[in-house]
């Protein structure tokens, strides 16, 4: 191969076709304008649904805008020399990023319109979260993805594995292999090694050493955040003082907000919610059917259609819990450290990300039993009356675990409905029919 050809090949993208600057700009502007409208509209609808909406939600409404406060802050932080490290799956050890004085941001896309662009790179059969993230990068839509200096790609499902590879057309991508059988000693050893090698890469990029003191304060930071996070979910056990979409938005903003501030704001929100509960200021009638969602991650701003259909439905439902890696699974489990030695802290981080996860990319001696247990615990403790099993087309792992979940829930007589959809607005009518039939069934069962 001639030297000239080699040189041109190294510049060439491996996956993504060339698009003219003009087209990129046009697309970015139109999708961004549409997205700003959708963000505002979603928030308006959420305000309208809640009978008593906590005042503290205002903060989260603001931080929910991708093209606002947070984008500005991140740009400024970068100008002052800070690094931003994006990640796709929640297995990326954020504590290490924080300990290196960098900013962790999750970058998966919830934009419907960019999924169509992703179709130029991968077939439509591929998971829309993946296609949409590719599309968002193609037109530079996501400020968080754009501002990332490197991306951590954890090889969970097939879609995420190849997404990292495709995004390497644009960014430094660090792959982390996660073992599929999680409850074995060798898996944990392997995963701990992955985390250790991630440490060096983060140190190299940021130029900051991760020492014991820094790692300890980073862990303490996420522990505090976890505490606030769990407090919010605890409150949702009672009669509804917060609508599910509002809670889900709070949970999700953790993915891109400043963690210290997010923790303070969430604690403040919880104070207000507890006060509301004392005054019996409910977000909706206390006898509203209590629903849980499990399945594919559901991402702001566009992919908000299912929770919207549930909470604006006739009859109405209220989302009181979920088992989504874009919401309640984000931060549910704290890093548990016995002794604050480097070794122990690493071990604790490894365990927190691997052992606690209920992601269907895992299997174990008894299958993904942890997920079943999570669901059963939620159903019992949060008094769930019905479960919607949500899957986007192309999301094999969640789709394949349905039969098992259905069987377990049938045994305890809790209705579950399998709802499959796409990154599109056009199927809302069909979805509405199904969701409302499900809610009607829950209401009829409660009336029996």
């Amino acid at each position: 191969m001639s030297e000239k050809r080699m040189k041109s090949q190294s510049k060439e993208k491996k996956y993504v076709p060339e698009i003219s600057k003009k087209e990129i700009n046009e697309l970015r502007n139109s999708v961004k304008t549409a997205s700003e409208k959708i963000i505002a509209e979603n928030i308006e609808r959420m305000k309208k649904t809640a009978e008593n909406r906590p005042k503290e939600m205002e903060y989260f409404d603001d931080i929910a805008n991708f093209f606002g406060t947070r984008e500005k802050e991140l740009s400024e932080a970068k100008e002052s020399g800070k690094k931003v490290i994006g990640y796709m799956c929640l297995f990326a050890p954020t504590e290490l990023i924080l300990a290196a004085d960098a900013i962790p941001i999750r970058v998966n896309s919830g934009w419907y319109d960019t999924a169509k662009l992703g179709d130029r790179v991968v077939p439509v059969e591929v998971c829309p979260v993946v296609r949409s993230t590719i599309g968002a990068k193609m037109i530079g839509l996501s400020p968080y993805l754009e501002l990332s200096d490197a991306l951590i790609s954890v090889l969970t499902c097939d879609g995420m594995t190849k997404l990292g590879e495709i995004l390497s057309d644009y960014k430094h991508v660090w792959a982390m292999t996660i073992p599929r059988v999680k409850d074995s000693d060798q898996s944990l050893r392997f995963w701990n090694d992955e985390i250790k090698s991630m440490k060096s890469q983060i140190e190299d990029l940021t130029g900051n050493k991760i020492n014991r003191k820094k790692l300890k304060s980073a862990i303490e930071l996420t522990q505090k955040a976890t505490k606030a996070f769990r407090r919010l979910q605890e409150i949702r056990k009672g009669a509804p003082v917060i609508m599910g979409r509002d809670a889900m938005l709070v949970n999700q903003t953790y993915m891109w907000d400043d963690i210290t501030r997010w923790t303070e704001k969430t604690e403040a929100l919880c104070d207000e919610l507890e006060e509301m509960a004392r005054k019996k200021l409910w977000a909706c009638p206390p006898d509203t059917p209590r629903v849980m969602i499990t399945g594919t991650p559901m991402l702001w701003p566009d992919n908000w259609k299912l929770p919207t259909l549930i909470e604006e439905g006739t009859p109405q439902g209220v989302l009181v819990a979920d088992e989504l890696c874009s919401s309640e699974r984000l931060l549910y489990d704290p890093v548990g450290v016995d002794e604050w030695s480097m070794n122990d802290m690493f071990k604790a981080i490894g365990e927190r990300y691997l052992m606690a996860s209920t992601c269907p990319c895992f299997t174990s001696k008894d299958g993904n039993e942890d997920r079943i247990n999570w669901l059963l615990n939620k159903i019992k403790e949060w008094n769930i009356q019905g479960v919607i099993y949500y899957v986007v087309r192309g999301c094999m792992l969640y789709a394949m675990e349905y039969t098992r979940v259905k069987k377990v829930l049938d045994d305890i007589n809790v209705p579950v409905y399998y709802l499959d959809t796409e990154y599109t607005r056009e199927d809302v009518g069909q979805m509405k029919t199904r969701v409302e039939a499900f809610l009607e069934m829950l209401t009829a069962r409660i009336d029996l």
């Binding site: 209705p415 499959d420 409302e436 039939a437 499900f438 009829a444």
Partner: protein
């Protein structure tokens, strides 16, 4: 007490009028571009037959995909909920109701009072529903109503794929090129549909007695194929396409009593 049920389907609107727990009349109209107008026609036809006027109806409940366009509705019920009520009313021992309409197939499990306990709907595709037969009849140059009787003459089964109307049609073309006879192809079409519907029903679980309703229940070819696939007997009412409207009318009667 007189109540009415209105089922705004994708292809036709059906109306049923109920007097003291008995069906007194039925009406039907093509949905077309104006489902609201079609609904008025359907209910007026039923009222005329029963020699009643709209003001005689104490409660009208609407169902169907066009539910939001229903005129004069006092309340609504989901299609699955309506199916469950109608199924148990028509056959008191019914616990599973399969409804195959023009654009959608669904199955509902219910209790002895007709309260829906679980349901499943075909995946966003009309291949398991009536439209598929229409498209395939066109490909075979056979009248829609002749498809069923034709398929019963088939001597063997030729498998085709019915994951999608479009791909299904190209499979049919392959059979035509293979010079399969029309009865064989017609049977293949019904078998493919029945495959889709039966796997959907199996996902839900089959609790006898099983009732089949919806417009497609009138097609002898489909019924024969579905019976074969499910290996059970199916109970089919005299007017299967009116089940949704009947269920809605029954719910309307319940709601009048509740008030």
């Amino acid at each position: 007490m007189i109540t009415a049920g209105l089922d705004l389907g994708t292809q036709t609107v059906k109306a049923v009028i109920l007097k003291d727990g008995e069906v007194v009349s039925r009406g039907k109209a093509f949905s077309g571009f104006d489902p609201t107008e079609a609904a008025k026609q359907a209910i007026n036809a039923a009222l005329k037959e029963a020699k009643l006027s709209l003001s005689d109806i104490s409660h009208l409940t609407a169902t169907g995909s066009g539910i939001e366009m229903a005129p004069n509705a006092n309340s609504t019920i989901s299609m699955m909920g309506a199916d469950a009520h109608a199924g148990v009313f028509l056959f008191p021992k019914a616990r599973t109701i399969i409804d195959v309409g023009a654009e959608e197939a669904r199955a509902v499990k219910c209790d002895d009072k007709g309260v829906m306990m679980d349901f499943v709907v075909n995946e966003r595709c009309a291949a398991g529903a009536g439209t598929f037969i229409e498209a395939m009849a066109r490909a075979l140059e056979v009248k829609l109503e002749d498809m069923g009787p034709l398929s019963l003459k088939a001597e063997h089964a030729s498998p085709i794929n019915a994951s999608c109307v479009i791909f299904g049609e190209s499979d049919v073309v392959t059979l035509i090129h293979r010079q399969e006879s029309k009865p064989e192809i017609a049977r293949a079409i019904f078998d493919a549909m029945a495959d889709r519907v039966s796997s959907m029903v199996h996902r839900l679980g089959v609790n006898p007695d099983v009732v089949l309703v919806g417009g497609v229940a009138k097609d002898v070819g489909f019924v024969a194929s579905l019976k074969r696939k499910l290996s059970i007997d199916l109970l089919i009412p005299e007017y299967p396409e009116y089940a949704g409207a009947l269920g809605a009318a029954l719910v309307a009667a319940r709601r009048v009593k509740k008030v």
